[in-house]
Symmetry: C2
Subunit: 336 residues, 2 copies
């Protein structure tokens, strides 16, 4: 870099050029009242002439507001964010932040360093608010976050406690929908492959499965716990086939696992949906391209991001929003 930083033009220069005091200039920049029309225009002209842009840092220091919020993903897996899920969340978040003056910071707290950073963030107001996602069950940060003195909204409800502010997809309702769909299709020996049981989504989806079968008066004991991953899905399906070879329907708590399961089913010579019907969860892009295309539950991911951002904004504004559960819906394709 050539080090010719043409020094940034400051408010003082604007004021001088406009022939007013710095205070007056500041007022027009923030369009506050108490400045005459003439001076206001003079300042505005000076701003344009000089190409003045306020220094965000200085402003932040003076106002004690950072002007940025952070989206933090806490996880032990460095690759979590590679999940397209988060990309969509970000799009949603961005769409509402775009209407404000707030910047978006990303914090992938996947290492010890990252966790430390997140912790400091929570206790020292380095941001005006934080959106926190993907807390797994035993994360001590969850509790800390919920009573931090900086506004925090959770994306997804942690498994072991309910934060004051969160927005979540209706995982339980979605799982119920999925299972009911299987029941309605005449399946009677319905199994499930759950997600990680230390995540809110994992337990909630399992609960939905149980509820639906209870209502239908069917046996809900064909259960294997998975981990949301494709390989995990394969392993779980193998186990299921070994222990409950009579099954004729499976609700699988993620499409990734469903893809793995589909492969195992195929290798085992079972037809889908002929021998066994499958419903997944998430509606990832690949779900449309499997053989057969996967019936699944879609969550409004961008909305989730959008609503998290809105809730955070409302919190920052000093309001007290109530938790929000977003509806999920069934996408029927050919695996059922």
């Amino acid at each position: 870099m050539t080090d010719i930083h043409k020094r940034q033009v400051t408010l003082d220069e604007v004021a001088e050029r406009a022939g007013v005091s710095r205070s007056a200039a500041s007022r027009v920049i923030n369009n506050a009242p108490h400045v005459s029309k003439a001076k206001r225009e003079a300042v505005q002209r000076a701003v344009v002439d000089l190409g003045y842009v306020p220094n965000a840092t200085a402003r932040a220091l003076a106002t004690q507001q950072v002007g940025a919020v952070v989206l933090a993903i806490s996880s032990d897996n460095p690759q979590v964010f590679a999940d397209p899920f988060f990309a969509e969340v970000v799009v949603g978040v961005n769409s509402v932040l775009e209407e404000t003056e707030l910047e978006l910071m990303l914090l992938l707290a996947t290492s010890t360093r990252g966790q430390t950073r997140l912790e400091q963030l929570l206790r020292t107001r380095q941001a005006d608010g934080v959106m926190l996602m993907s807390m797994h069950g035993d994360d001590p940060l969850a509790a800390l976050a919920d009573k931090a003195d900086v506004p925090v909204v959770f994306g997804g409800c942690p498994v072991n406690f309910e934060p004051r502010y969160y927005v979540d997809a209706d995982n339980r309702g979605g799982a119920r929908l999925a299972t009911e769909h299987l029941v309605a299709a005449g399946r009677t020996r319905i199994a499930t492959i759950t997600g990680r049981m230390d995540e809110g989504a994992g337990t909630a989806r399992y609960k939905g499965y149980q509820e639906a079968l209870a209502v239908a008066g069917l046996d809900a004991s064909r259960v294997v716990h998975g981990d949301f991953s494709e390989d995990g899905g394969s392993r779980a399906m193998e186990e299921l086939l070994a222990t409950h070879s009579d099954l004729d329907g499976v609700f699988i708590a993620s499409d990734q696992m469903a893809i793995g399961a589909l492969r195992v089913l195929k290798d085992a010579g079972k037809t889908v949906p002929g021998d066994v019907a499958i419903v997944g969860f998430n509606d990832i892009t690949s779900a449309r391209h499997t053989e057969p295309p996967l019936t699944t539950i879609a969550q409004p991911i961008q909305s989730l991001g959008r609503e998290m951002a809105r809730m955070l904004l409302s919190l920052i504004a000093g309001e007290t929003p109530t938790p929000l559960i977003l509806p999920t819906r069934l996408i029927a394709r050919s695996s059922t």
Copy 2:
């Protein structure tokens, strides 16, 4: 929010508690020399006791360094970031930033507001550096960015000019690889569906296709321009079928388009790879699940992110790195 912001503890308090001057305290915080062992330890103890964490804003104002870099995606499509591609880039970027003290800010410049923000960012040093992606051909910001007085590295080379600092995947080489693969499989009437020709990746991949066919002495005139999208791929394939029904191989510049094309081919009663062999580009997750699984070109996306971040760091450190082209490789599956 309860508004009991227990005021942040300041450096002055630390200094007082340690019985030293603020300057001394500052020195030990930044572990600078010229402070006796005794005082150094006293300060360190005070820091722990008080739970002191430096105020990043104040520090930024004093040092004239923001302590954050931004990853900016410039595009006219609000949904670009939903592409899993960027999620992976972010993972890569984060992995190197994690080792530093720098924060990561995300700027999705998809609206007028966003573009304005990006422009201001480029001219007013609101960040210590910026990584810029997805510039399409006629974006005036590209030129501006390249001579901004803040370090900028491009991700992907814009179509109409070569920035001073960039890292890109070897799109041309990858396309050549893909086309050569088709040639090696004995195909002789090889078409291509290109990407958007106002993006660097689009033109580069087209060039690679031309080169490979030139070397093989084959006709390179079976060309339809697409837009990288699935629907665009369908439309392009229809056109190709209508105008060049004799084709026996197609290099398609993105997997998304390939998926669309596959559907059209199937509807038209053509078998893959029997009648026509297909090679895509990107190796998206879905590519493994299509029918048949797609032969494609993989780019090292996380590396791209990582190298962009590294280059930016080196730029910030005052060095002068050279542009970087990352290798791509062929993933052979059953569509060829």
